[in-house]
Structure formats: structure tokens, C-alpha cells
């Protein structure tokens, strides 16, 4: 029985440029998984961007030094496919009868295809939204799961005019994504426009009923001496039967100094 809660997937990731991988996502996550950081695969920085992975593997210079950024090909010149990358990892998970597993991406820039054990799921566009995939039914029974994510850059990466300027040619503004990446008066253009799995990836084990996005609000009266805490949450019952639940809320304060709780 897997423990209830979150497990972050932030190690053991591999990456490869999409144009250098001749396999499909289904093959990568069933019959032909990459065996390790052998070309075209390399160790990947997740969470991070494609450029973070390339800099870590020294396949490009570090844009933070000197004029190295000028030596890195810009997406406007290379085309979007040059910065379209596969990310691959494995994870262990064995559920018991009525447990459920979600695969969560807290943010991806800009869109992606997810393959898990040969099954494909498309992630919608947008740099600033979370994605939660219910994957209980597509887990491998013996526990080892193969995950591949094909990450696409923003739809409108734009190009940088010779004179530079705030936001380059402003094309990036057509997408829901960070705009500084086309360069500003205080920063040079970011060559991959921050493409990548840029925030936390995790798997989350829950029982039949799941707590989703609680909202806490406080209200104040009598000069802050009388205070109320209002809590609202969403609950999702993933089972096929009515769930009779005990829902508990507890508020405790950090103990200070030598005070101890008996």
C-alpha cells in the first residue's frame, strides 16, 4: 500500500532534442526506453528549462558570462523544433485496492504531450497553469512506470530586432507566457524563451476521496480581538460508491522557546 501524499519527481530525468529521437512516445515508454545519458540523451534539469539542461551538459556556454549568449542560437533562427525536447524518467509506485494516483505538473512552458507506459495525454497550452492527470488505471502492475514528456516552446517566440528593445518584436505577447524572454533593457534575450518543465513534477497518492485547493479566509472584529477562520475546500470522490467522510480541520501554532506540548 503506497503512503498517502506527494512524491516529487526531481531526479533521474533524461532529455533529448526531439529532432534527434526517432522513436515515438509510446515506444519510449514501453519497448524502447532510453537506458541512460548516452547520445542523444543527456541528464536533464527538472524543474528547469531546456537551456538549463544544455548549460548543465555544457553543450552550450553559460549565458551568464561575457557575451556567451551571443553564441547560443536563438529560437527565431533555429526554429521551434530545435528547442522542442523530450524529457524522460521512471518512478516506482504500487497502489492498493482503492488508492488513486495523480501525476501533477505545477507548470510547463508552453505545451506538452505526456506518455506514461504507452498511454498518451495532451497537456493544454499556457505557462501558468497546473496540470493534474489521473493515472491510476495506466500504472504498471509490477511497479516500475516509464514517463516521457515532449515539451513544445511558446507558439509565438518572436524574433529579436537588431536594435533589441523591450520585448523584442512583441510576438511573445500573443501567448500566455513570461514576456521578458525576448529581452528587455536589463536582460539579453533568452534563446529558448524559457521552454521546459519549469516547475515541480510530482505523483500524489490518495484514497477514494481527495481534498482539492482549500481556501482559507480570516475575518476580524472588535479591533482584531475576535477573529474567525473560514475554510472552504473541494472534495472529489473517485470511487463508485457514496463516501461517508469525517472531515477534520485543525489549527495549531508553532511552539516557541522551551514550551512543549504534552
Amino acid at each position: 500500500m503506497a503512503e498517502i501524499g506527494k512524491m516529487v519527481l526531481d531526479s533521474g530525468w533524461l532529455a533529448a532534442r526531439s529532432t534527434e529521437v526517432k522513436l515515438t512516445g509510446t515506444q519510449l515508454t514501453t519497448t524502447h526506453p532510453p537506458t541512460g545519458p548516452t547520445s542523444p540523451w543527456m541528464e536533464a534539469v527538472v524543474p528547469g528549462t531546456v537551456l538549463a539542461t544544455l548549460v548543465t551538459n555544457k553543450t552550450v556556454g553559460d549565458p551568464f558570462y561575457g557575451l556567451v549568449n551571443e553564441t547560443i542560437v536563438d529560437i527565431a533562427d533555429s526554429g521551434r523544433e530545435y528547442y522542442t525536447f523530450w524529457f524522460f524518467t521512471k518512478f516506482q509506485c504500487k497502489l492498493s485496492g482503492t488508492q488513486h494516483l495523480d501525476l501533477n505538473f505545477r507548470a510547463i512552458n508552453y505545451s506538452a504531450e505526456v506518455y506514461l507506459n504507452g498511454h498518451k495525454k495532451d497537456l493544454p497550452k499556457g505557462m501558468f497553469q497546473r496540470h493534474s492527470l489521473e493515472v491510476t488505471d495506466i500504472l504498471n502492475p509490477e511497479g516500475t512506470n516509464l514517463l516521457a514528456v515532449l515539451v513544445y516552446p511558446p507558439d509565438h517566440p518572436g524574433s529579436i530586432p537588431p536594435e533589441g528593445g523591450q520585448g523584442g518584436d512583441h510576438e511573445i505577447g500573443k501567448d500566455v507566457a513570461t514576456q521578458y524572454v525576448e529581452g528587455w533593457d536589463w536582460i539579453a534575450p533568452v534563446r529558448d524563451r524559457n521552454t521546459g518543465i519549469w516547475d515541480e513534477v510530482s505523483i500524489y497518492v490518495s484514497g477514494p476521496v481527495k481534498i482539492i485547493d482549500p481556501h482559507l479566509v480570516s475575518s476580524f472584529f472588535d479591533h482584531n480581538t475576535r477573529v474567525y477562520l473560514h475554510a472552504t475546500t473541494e472534495l472529489e470522490n473517485k470511487s463508485a460508491w457514496v463516501a461517508e467522510c469525517s472531515l477534520n480541520i485543525q489549527v495549531t501554532t508553532e511552539l516557541e522557546g522551551s514550551i512543549c506540548l504534552v
Binding site: I4, V45, P47, G48, A52, R106, P124, K125, G126, F128, Q129, R130, Q166, G167, D169, H170, I172, G173, K174, D175, V176, T178, Q179, Y180, W184, I187, V190, N194, W198, G207, P208, V209, K210, I211, H215, L216, S218, S219, F221, V227, Y228, L229, H230, T232, E234, L235, E236, N237, V242, A243, E244, C245, S246, L247, N248, I249, Q250, V251, T252, T253
Partner: protein, 237 residues
């Protein structure tokens, strides 16, 4: 003493919204910005047990009791802030993001945010051309008392200005913009340091987006109507 258990029945396959009866606190330790007092934080935990199964899920969040108000001062045109009824002189820092390869670790955020507190600042403004900052950033703003002014992804340079005017109507997909904005609000809304949502940098978002943002972010009518001296049921008891 702040423990409450409710019985809830959830139909098969359903997703419901549940609100606990409000929890009463007498003189709780308040959360204050850097330089005004302690950043008192409480552990709020919600757990759910299912009959015939046991513990099904749990959730936790550090929460601070604070009331943040702000309004445009008619005399100066500037925005005045109050925290817990006390006016505060905002000493703010501009924030774009911590690393342009988005190698954003907890350690990095802790160092960056503590640096701002050590500089005696009490607000960080997250610029609209950067990111909606991450929960770890907000956690350390909660811990060190930095109020956060968080802008959405509209900038005066890229949206609706210039010759010729670029992106006069903002991003192409307004539904996607609102989907991202709503999900970002859900991700960050419980942090006591979150002080102000702002439509964009030096620019008002396109009218439909601005109206939708204002509508989604206005105070819930329930809190508008509560009179200052209403006694609640548990107070009576």
C-alpha cells in the same frame, strides 16, 4: 483547541465544495510585515477519513491572521496600505525572477527573500513581464514578512503600445489567460504575504480580461455584509 470534525457524504464520482463552520479565535497572534511585528504563522491541516477505508487524504498550509487594506489616496494619487488597521510605509523592491534559466530552488528563494528583509524592505513587486511567483517564494515572504504585489502577464511595452501598436488586445487566447489566472490565484491565495493582485505592468489589461479579473478577485459578498459587531453563534454559547 482549534479542532473541528464534520461529517460529509460525497456521491460517487462527484466533486463537491464544502465550507466548514467558521472557527473562532480570541486575540490570535497576528501576522505583521517586516519591521512592524512578528510574522506569526499557524499550521492549518485538513484531513479526510472515509468510513470503511481510513485516512484518504490530507492537506496542510502555514497561515497568518492579517487584514490588508489598500486604496488610492485622492490627495497624492498613490496607493495607501494598512495592515491589521495600522498604516504602513511601503518600502518595496522590484522583482523580475531569480534566474533566467528558471533554476528556482527553495534555497535560492530563501536567500533572495531574506536578503530583501535584511535590506529592511516590506514589499516585493513581481513585475508582469516575469513570472507568477512560486509557492516557495511566497512561503519565504510569509516567513520574513515581505508583502507581495503580484502582476498578471501584461506589460505596457508589449501589450497595446508602440508604433505600430503591438498586441492591442493582449494575448490571442483570452480564455487561456483567464484559465491561467484563476489557477494561479488558487495556487497562491492562502499565503498571508499576498497583498495585491495587479492586472499588468504600466498597462490596463484588455477590457474583457480586466473586468473578469476584477470580478473574480473581488471580496466575497459574505465578508462584505458581516457587520463589525455581529455576534456569531459560538460566541453566544
Amino acid at each position: 483547541e482549534h479542532l473541528q470534525t464534520q461529517h460529509v457524504s460525497v456521491p460517487p464520482g462527484a466533486r463537491i465544495q464544502y465550507t466548514f463552520p467558521q472557527l473562532f479565535f480570541y486575540k490570535p497572534n497576528l501576522w505583521w510585515p517586516n519591521g512592524m511585528g512578528k510574522q506569526s504563522l499557524y499550521n492549518v491541516s485538513i484531513t479526510i477519513d472515509v468510513k470503511g477505508y481510513g485516512k484518504s487524504d490530507s492537506w496542510g498550509q502555514l497561515f497568518g491572521f492579517r487584514k490588508i487594506e489598500s486604496h488610492i489616496d485622492s490627495a497624492t494619487g498613490g496607493r495607501l496600505f494598512k495592515v491589521n488597521g495600522q498604516p504602513i510605509f511601503i518600502r518595496g523592491g522590484n522583482w523580475i525572477l531569480s534566474d533566467c534559466l528558471l533554476r528556482l530552488s527553495e534555497e535560492r528563494y530563501k536567500t533572495d527573500v531574506k536578503f530583501h528583509a535584511d535590506m529592511n524592505l516590506n514589499m516585493i513587486r513581481c513585475w508582469g513581464g516575469g513570472l507568477a511567483e512560486r509557492p516557495e517564494f511566497y512561503h519565504y515572504c510569509d516567513v520574513y514578512g515581505l508583502l507581495v504585489w503580484q502582476e498578471f502577464w501584461i506589460t505596457g511595452d508589449v501589450d497595446g503600445r508602440g508604433i505600430p501598436v503591438s498586441n492591442p488586445n493582449g494575448p490571442l487566447d483570452h480564455d487561456l489567460f483567464m484559465l491561467c489566472a484563476r489557477d494561479t490565484v488558487k495556487l497562491l491565495r492562502n499565503h498571508p504575504s499576498l497583498a495585491l493582485w495587479v492586472g499588468g505592468n504600466e498597462q490596463v489589461p484588455p477590457p474583457d480580461l480586466n473586468t473578469a479579473l476584477k470580478n473574480d478577485l473581488k471580496l466575497h459578498p459574505f465578508f462584505e455584509n458581516q457587520s463589525e459587531n455581529a455576534m456569531s453563534v459560538e460566541d453566544m454559547s
